[in-house]
Amino acid sequence: MTLETIRHLKHDTPDHDRRLDGMAQGVLGTDMDRPEGPLKVSGRATYAAETAPEGMAHGYLVRAATIGRITGSNAEAVQAMPGVLHVLEDERMIRNAAQGMAGKSPVQKQGQAWYVGQPVACVVAESFEQARHAAQAMMVTIEPDGTHAFDAESREAQVETPEKKQLVQGDFDGAMSGAAFSIDNDYRTSSMSSAAMEPHASIAQWDEDGAVTLRGSYQLLRFNKNELADVLGVAPEKVRILSPYVGGGFGSKLGLAPEAVAAALSAQVLGRPVRVVLHRRQVFETVTRRSETKQRIRLACDAQGKLTAIGHENLVSQLPEEVFSEPVAQGTHFQYAAPNRLVGHHIARIRRPAAGSVRAPGEAVGVTAFEIAVDELAKAAGIDPLEFRLRNVPEKHPENGKPFSSSTMEATLREGAKRFGWEHTAPRQRREGEWWIGTGMAGCVRVNMMIEAHARVVLTGQGVRVECDMTDIGTGSYAILTQVAAEMLGFAPSQVETVLGDTDLPPASGSGGSFGAASTSTAVYLACMELRERLAAKIGVKETELTLKDGHAIHDNRQTKLSELLGEEEWRALGHLEPGKAGQDVRQATWGAVFAEVAVSDVTGETRVRRMEGTFACGRILNLKTARSQCHGGMIWGLGLALTEALEHDPRDGHMVNRDLAEYHLPVNLDVPQLGVHFLEERDDWANPLQAKGIGELAICGSGSAVINAIENACGVRVRQLPATLDRVMEGLAAHD
C-alpha cells in the first residue's frame, strides 16, 4: 500500500504542545555524527563536478576585460583551435548569479559587458585543457559605452534612496543635540567574498524529450529549477537539478550562476553532456559578493546610559538592474530601544561585480558596525560596555511595539560574561613584551526566518526514509533530518535513510538565511506526526498515548513491533509547512554575545586573537555538533570580517584585483584561537512546532566587533574601517608614540 497522506500547517499561532519533548528515542539534540561524514572524508561523496557522463565535453567561460557594448569576437578562429567543439556567445547567458529566491532568470547578457569579469562566452572542447586554452585565446571586442563610477563614495556614483527603506521616528535631531553623551562616526566594511571551498560547477545533459538534468552545486533547488527554466525558456517540469552534496554555500550558491547556464546552453547545442567548472578567479567575479558599506552611526544616551537616539544611515553598492541591496540596518530596527530613530538606506549604482546575499546579509556588517558604535558610546558615557548593553535591552520591538517571540539578549550577555570572566579596564593597561592585551565584547542578533517547505517521510516496518530536495551545504541537513525522523518515529538513526538534493523529490526550503533547518525539519516533523496519528489510529489509541522507540510501538504497557503492525506495507506522508502570521505578529530573532581577548603588537599593529567565547540562544538545538560547528564558522567569519578579508577593486575599472585565495585573506588556522561556544537552550513556541530556529548566521552578526572593541581596549586605537589590517592599527599606534 502506498497511500500518501498530507499534513499541512499554516503557521499562524504558537505551538505550545512541544511534542518533541515527549519523544523517547533520545537522538535529537545529541552530537550525532553526520551520516554522510564517512563518504565525505573518504572522497566518495560525489560533488557537482565529480561525475562524468559518457560523451561529456568541457566548457570554460570567457571573461570581459573591459566594460561596454559587445561588438564582435574572434570566435571563428577559436572554433578552429584543437579540440574546440563550440563557442557559445548566446544572449541568454547570464551576467551574474541570480539573487537568492529569485525563481526567475537573473539579468542576461543583452550584448553588454556590464562589469569587468562578466562571462561573455563559453568555449567548449573535448578536454578541459583544450577548453581552457581556447577560452584564454578568445578575444571579445567591447566598445566603451561611456564613463562609469566604480566606487560608491565617488561623486560620479548615482545614488538611489528608496522611500520604503527610510525611517524617522520621534525627534532624532533634538535627541542628539540634547543628549548627555553622543557619538557620530562613519564606519566602513569591505567588499567580501563567500569563498566557499567547492568552486561552482555544473554538468548539463539533455534527453530526447527536451528535458535537461543539471548536476550542480546549489542551495535552493526549487528556486534554481525555475531560474534555469526561465533562462532556457522551457517549462520547469523539463528541468531537474541534482545537488546531493554542496561544498559550502554562504549565499554564493543561492542563485543560479553563469556556469550552469553555459553548461545547459552548450549541451543543448552539442547534443552531449557538458561540464563547466568555474575557475576560482571566476567564482570571485561572477558570483555575488557582499557589498562594501559606509555606515554613519549616530547614537545618544542620557546620563544613566539609556539610549535616546539611534541613527544608522547606510550606503551600499550594486550593479544596475539588480534588485537586492545589502539590508545593513536589518538588526538596527529592533536590537536596542530608543524613542528617537533614524534609518537611511542608499544604493550606489556602480560597476563592480554584482552584490548579493553573503552569510547573514544585513546583520553581518550592520550589527558589526553598530556594536562598535555602541562600544564607543559606552566609553563616552564612562559605562562598562556590558553594563551599557544591559541597560538598553528592549522589552518589545522598539519601532512597532510588537512583542518578541522570545527575548534572550540579557541572558546571553550575562551568561557570556560569566563564561568569559569579563573584566574590563581602561585601554593600554596590560602589556606583555611588545604586545598590548585587551578585551572586548559585542551582542549578536539575527532575524529568524522560515519559508515554505515540503518533505516526504516513508515508514516501513524496518525503518524510515526521508525525501525532499533540501540541500546539505555542509551545515548538517542529512544529520538533523535523520534525527528528527528517528526521534519522531522511534528508530535508530542508522535505520533512517535521508535522500536530498533532487528536484524530483518534494520541494523543501533549501538552505539559506538560516531558515533551512527549521523550515525543512518542520516539514519532516509534520509528515512524521501524520504517520504517528495513522499508527495510533490503527492501534486504537491517541497519538499522545503512543510511544515509538527502537522500532516498537508502546502503549498501555504493551509493546508491538512496527514490522508486525505494518507488515510489508509502506506508509507515506507528505509534510507541508507554510509560513503564516506567527512570523508577522511577533518579532522572531536569535541572540548572542561574544567576548574576545586580543593581543596587538605595538610595533607592527598586528592583531592576534587569543580567545573568543560565544553564547547563543537559537531555539532547540537539533544536533549539538553541527550547531556548534555553525557557530565556530560564524565566529571565524567574524574574525575575517574584523581582521583579514577585503576584496580590493581597481579604482579605474572596478575589477577585483585580489581574486584568489592567496591574496583574498581568509583567516587560517593559526589566526583562530580557542573558540568557546555555549548554547542557551530555549523553547520559542512562535518559531515552529519544533521550537528550532536559525543558527548558521547568528555568530557572524557582531562577533567581529568584539575583536575590534578589544583592539581599542588593548592599545587605544579605534579602527572604523574594516578589516583592521595592521597598517590601519599601526597608524593609530603612531599617534600614541
Binding site: 569587468v116 581552457r132 607592527t604 581582521l643 577593486h649 579604482p651 579605474r652 587560517v668 589566526d671 599601526m730
Partner: protein, 327 residues
C-alpha cells in the same frame, strides 16, 4: 595552458643542453610555474624536468659552510639540524613561508626563481611590463598595497616574494650555476637585477643556466632573527620582513648583516645600513638612523606608503631584540 614539449633530463649536462632558449623552463617542484602556466602568464614551449638529477643533499664544505643542492625541498632544508644550529635565520625564514604542503614540494633553486605576486602580473587582462614588455604598469596607479618601495622603476614596482632568499641574502649565500660554459658561482647579492626598463629580466641567469646549489659560508654566529610581518598569521607573503644576524661585543655592535623582504624587487640589503651599525653602541637613535639610511630612497605608491613607517618600526624592534643583553 598551452601545449609544450616535455623532457626529463638524466643528468645536469643534458639539462643544460636541452635548455638554451627563452622558450624553455626547468621544472622541479612547480609550485609557482604550474599555476602561472595554467593562467598562461607563462607559456614555455618546452619544460625540462630536473627532478631526477642528482641535485639533492646538503653537504658540509671545506670552509665550514654548507652546499645545499638545488633540489633540496624547503621542508628538508628548514628541518636540517646543521641549518637550525648554524644558520637558524634560514630555517626560520623557510618556515615562515608558504604552507606545509608547498614547502614539501618547493625546492631551493625554484624558490630563488619564484615570480612576483603582483596582482597585475597574474592578470592577463591588465598591462604588465614584466609579463608583456612595453604594455605598461597597471600597479603604479592601481592597488599596490603589497608592492615595492625600494628599487622600483617607472616600469615595474613588483616585489620578490621569497622568504628563504631574504635569509640567504643576509647570510652572504652564493648561487652555484651550471651553464653551457661550465660551472660558476654568483653571490646572491649579484644574482638578481633591478627592473629598470627591463623588468622581465629578473636575474643574471642565461636561458641555459641551471642552478645546481646554494652555498652558505661558515656559520655567521651572532643572534639570528627572521621577523615577517604579514596580513595573517600564516600563508601570506611578507609586507615587510627582516633577516638579521647581529653580534654585540663589549657594548658595541660588531656584526650586522641585514636583509629585507617585501620591500623591493629582490631580497634587499644595504651596506650603508650595516656600516652605520657596526662599531656603534645600540640605541633607539642609532636604529632610527639605520632606518633613515635604508629608507632614504623609499618611494610609496599610495597603497603601500605604510610600508615605510612599518619597515622603520620593524627594523627597530628587530635590532632591539638582537642587541638586548641576554636575560
Amino acid at each position: 595552458m598551452r601545449s609544450f614539449d616535455y623532457v626529463r633530463a638524466g643528468d645536469t649536462a643534458q639539462a643544460v643542453r636541452e635548455a638554451g632558449s627563452e622558450e624553455t623552463r626547468f621544472i622541479a617542484g612547480g609550485t609557482n610555474l604550474l599555476d602561472l602556466m595554467k593562467l598562461e602568464v607563462m607559456a614555455p614551449g618546452k619544460l625540462v624536468d630536473i627532478t631526477r638529477l642528482d641535485l639533492g643533499g646538503i653537504e658540509e664544505t671545506a670552509d665550514g659552510g654548507l652546499r645545499i643542492g638545488a633540489l633540496v625541498t624547503n621542508s628538508d632544508l628548514a628541518a636540517d639540524a646543521r641549518v637550525r644550529r648554524g644558520w637558524p635565520v634560514l630555517s626560520r625564514a623557510l618556515l615562515a613561508g608558504a604552507s606545509g604542503q608547498l614547502r614539501n614540494k618547493a625546492t631551493t633553486g625554484g624558490n630563488l626563481l619564484q615570480r612576483t605576486r603582483c596582482y597585475y602580473f597574474y592578470d592577463r587582462g591588465e598591462p604588465c611590463n614584466k609579463r608583456e614588455p612595453g604594455s605598461g604598469c597597471a600597479a603604479k596607479d592601481g592597488v599596490n598595497r603589497i608592492l615595492a618601495i625600494l628599487g622600483t622603476s617607472e616600469h615595474c614596482i613588483a616585489t620578490h616574494p621569497s622568504d628563504m632568499a631574504v635569509a640567504m641574502r643576509a647570510l652572504d649565500a652564493r648561487v652555484e650555476i651550471e651553464g653551457a660554459e661550465g660551472r660558476r658561482e654568483v653571490a646572491l647579492g649579484e644574482f638578481y637585477r633591478l627592473p629598470g626598463d627591463t623588468p622581465q629580466i629578473e636575474t643574471v641567469l642565461k636561458p641555459d643556466d641551471l642552478i645546481t646549489a646554494v652555498l652558505l659560508p661558515a656559520p655567521a654566529g651572532g643572534r639570528q632573527i627572521y621577523r615577517k610581518v604579514r596580513d595573517r598569521s600564516s600563508y601570506a607573503f611578507a609586507l615587510v620582513s627582516v633577516a638579521a644576524v647581529i653580534e654585540v661585543e663589549d657594548g658595541v655592535i660588531s656584526k650586522a648583516q641585514l636583509a629585507f623582504g617585501g620591500l623591493g624587487p629582490m631580497p634587499w640589503r644595504d651596506a650603508d645600513v650595516e656600516a652605520a651599525l657596526v662599531g656603534a653602541a645600540p640605541s633607539a637613535a642609532l636604529f632610527d638612523r639605520a632606518a633613515d639610511i635604508l629608507l632614504a630612497e623609499a618611494k610609496g605608491y599610495g597603497g603601500n606608503d605604510f610600508k615605510i613607517p612599518l619597515t622603520r618600526r620593524t627594523l627597530a624592534a628587530v635590532l632591539t631584540q638582537a642587541t638586548e643583553a641576554s636575560a
